[in-house]
């Protein structure tokens, strides 16, 4: 069977986001940074390979299946913010009229919380313009690569019984209970959750982070690996943190929806990566050329 991919949800703006108002920027020329913008501390992670639990929901033979673990190669150095975007940084974007005020719980030098995927996109766009660099949300794979040992992935059921779907539901519920993670809603100062082996701070703490990856529902072939069909829904994005989950792009508080069975994120925030890809460098050059001509 041929793989088919269907795109849903025109609501979601795909994150290709070529910044539109980079007047005066040209290739090789460093834009004088807006003095009001704090340059984010970043961590550079050298290229590497790892086995990654794929995001989304997987079906095999019409039954829920474990997410495939596939080898992933990160081909270029990944430059990622060491800390999550801070509330006072985000406030500068709000002051500039480019971001909507966050539903943050506190003021001060804590990470911004109460932000949706759309808010994160708006910030990335503003921050890119203000710094003259290309910043974007990490993909699910990039986040997992940067998170290293802090990556947990989805809370999958311990048991899958094709004759009794309730076993899966009950065992996921039990797994979440056994994790015994108490709600921890108060944002804490940057660095409170320490750094991982790659030098990236506050991963899997009490702030879940938006990624640019879309939710997928995938039907696997008989080998449990080959994709028979897949539906991509970009109205829902992958959120990473203590565990991996999926949220509609306009949600700012992951806790709403108390009916739902499942472990809700304490807070929604984000961090960005600096995009040094060839495509982005070419786009920058192209924009420079286009503006100059």
């Amino acid at each position: 069977m041929k793989p088919t991919t269907t795109k849903l949800a025109g609501v979601a703006l795909v994150a290709l986001a070529i910044p539109t108002a980079l007047i005066g920027l040209s290739q090789g020329m460093q834009l004088p940074a807006d003095p009001r913008v704090r340059m984010a501390e970043t961590v550079r992670i050298e290229p590497g390979s790892f086995t990654h639990m794929q995001p989304g929901e997987f079906l095999q033979d019409s039954r829920p299946a474990a997410a495939p673990r596939v080898p992933v190669r990160i081909r270029r150095p990944l430059e990622i913010m060491k800390y999550q975007v801070r509330l006072d940084d985000y406030a500068r974007c709000v002051a500039a009229g480019a971001c909507k005020p966050a539903d943050a719980r506190e003021a001060g030098e804590v990470p911004v919380t109460g932000v949706s995927y759309r808010d994160a996109l708006a910030y990335a766009k503003w921050y890119s313009e203000a710094t003259g660099e290309d910043w974007r949300l990490p993909t699910d794979e990039e986040w997992a690569f940067a998170a290293g040992s802090r990556f947990r992935g989805d809370i999958e059921p311990l048991e899958v019984d094709t004759a009794n779907p309730a076993r899966g539901w009950l065992s996921s519920y039990r797994r979440e209970v056994d994790l015994a993670r108490k709600p921890d809603p108060q944002p804490k100062p940057a660095g409170s959750f320490g750094v991982n082996e790659k030098g990236v701070a506050d991963l899997a703490g009490n702030i879940w982070e938006w990624t640019s990856s879309c939710y997928m529902r995938v039907t696997l072939g008989p080998d449990g690996k080959a994709i028979e069909s897949a539906i991509e829904n970009c109205g829902v994005r992958v959120v990473q943190g203590f565990h991996r989950t999926y949220m509609s792009n306009f949600i700012r508080d992951g806790k709403s929806g108390g009916c739902a069975v499942g472990l809700p994120p304490d807070n929604l925030g984000f961090r960005l990566v600096r995009d040094n890809s060839l495509g982005m460098r070419m786009a920058r050059w192209f924009r420079g050329g286009w503006i100059a001509s």
């Binding site: 079906l59 019409s62 309730a166 539901w169 809603p185 108390g258 069975v261």
Partner: protein
């Protein structure tokens, strides 16, 4: 000049004095032979559990003795750490369930420790006379009282604190609970055939009215007296900030989710002392529901959602037919999902494909 505490106690003393006049004749009417009845002392357990009891009474009427201590204390009511200046019967919200049989006497000793700030009493909807016992049970900090009433009607009944001048405040601060008076022969279905339960869960629903500061954050107070004016202002708006089961958002979920097995029959008693509610078991039903909670009436059958009048308790009997994780909610879903009125049941057992099956799993829309 009076401090707030003195003023509130003063109001209660006035009420107690007014109640003292009918008190004497009521006491005089107690029949002499009651003293000869067997006595049973029962230790209360915190909800959603219920103390051990017989479903069908063995032997004749007796006096069932309970003791409850009133505890005033801050109570955390959500995951954000919001603290209610709570007032509780026996330390829990709701107060524990007391079970007796029709014809028994319920004898309660109510203790108001000296460390408390407020006078309290108890109004039993199951009792007859003296404001449900409220007029005979006013006690100040440092006092205790014992009340006995005859359980003349079977059913599930609310009890609550009812001190003159500040009844709703005590109730929405946590002071309510449930009495269940079982028919001596146990529960009967609509055809009069006996029905039994393997488990009983007692879900007390409370709504709270927590004041906010200028920034919109929930306020905390050093004492009950200091919280009174602001809380009353929110109460008068009739818009609760929290609607919860068992005293706290999420109190009956996760490791505290209620448990059952396929084939087990569960009696769910749902009480709300102040405000209407409408319980619903998502993916299940009420096989037999005493919506008003009174067992002399035949139960309604096969309900999807049942209505609990504010100031009453309902009883619903259900035999679980399918395993899984069930949500038990107040089916005003805004109150369930946004304000907290959600509990979970985890039910183990074999899946019944005949009752439900996913014929075709989600896949891309078929094109021909």
């Amino acid at each position: 000049m009076l401090t707030r505490r003195e003023a509130l106690i003063g109001a209660a003393w006035a009420a107690a004095a007014a109640a003292a006049i009918p008190a004497t004749p009521v006491m005089a009417e107690v029949k002499a032979d009651v003293g000869a009845l067997p006595r049973q002392k029962v230790s209360l357990v915190a909800p959603p559990f219920v103390h051990d009891h017989e479903q069908v009474a063995t032997g004749g009427p007796k006096i069932v003795e309970f003791t409850m201590k009133i505890e005033e204390k801050p109570v955390v009511i959500d995951d954000e750490g919001t603290a209610l200046r709570g007032m509780t019967f026996n330390g829990s919200i709701p107060g524990p369930m007391m079970v007796v049989h029709e014809g028994d006497y319920l004898e309660l000793t109510l203790v108001n420790p000296e460390t408390n700030e407020m006078p309290h009493n108890i109004d039993f909807h199951a009792a007859t006379g003296a404001l449900g016992g409220g007029a005979l049970t006013h006690i100040n900090p440092g006092e205790q009282v014992t009340l006995r009433f005859k359980a003349t009607r079977s059913g599930t009944f609310v009890y609550h604190c009812a001190p003159e001048g500040m009844i709703p405040w005590h109730v929405v601060s946590g002071m309510s609970g449930t009495v269940m008076v079982l028919p001596r022969g146990g529960l009967k279905n609509d055809k009069g055939e006996p029905v039994r339960y393997d488990r009983i869960y007692y879900v007390g629903e409370n709504e709270f009215y927590i004041p906010r500061d200028e920034a919109g954050n929930f306020k905390t107070y050093e004492s009950l007296g200091e919280s009174y004016d602001d809380t009353l202002a929110v109460m008068r708006g009739l818009v609760p900030t929290h609607v919860v089961f068992n005293g706290k958002v999420g109190a009956l979920t996760g490791e505290n989710a209620m448990k059952a097995k396929v084939g087990e029959t569960v009696l769910i008693v749902h009480s709300q002392a102040n405000r209407d509610t409408r319980p619903h078991l998502i993916g299940g039903h009420g096989d037999y529901v005493w919506e008003e909670g009174k067992f002399a009436n035949p139960p309604a059958k096969d309900l999807e959602t049942w209505f609990v009048r504010g100031g009453s308790a309902a009883a619903a009997l259900y035999t679980f037919l399918q395993p899984g994780v069930y949500a038990y909610v107040n089916h005003n879903l805004i109150e369930a999902a946004e304000l907290g009125a959600t509990a979970h049941f985890t039910v183990e057992g074999e899946w019944n494909d005949d009752l439900m099956t996913q014929v075709d799993a989600p896949r891309p829309i078929a094109t021909n």
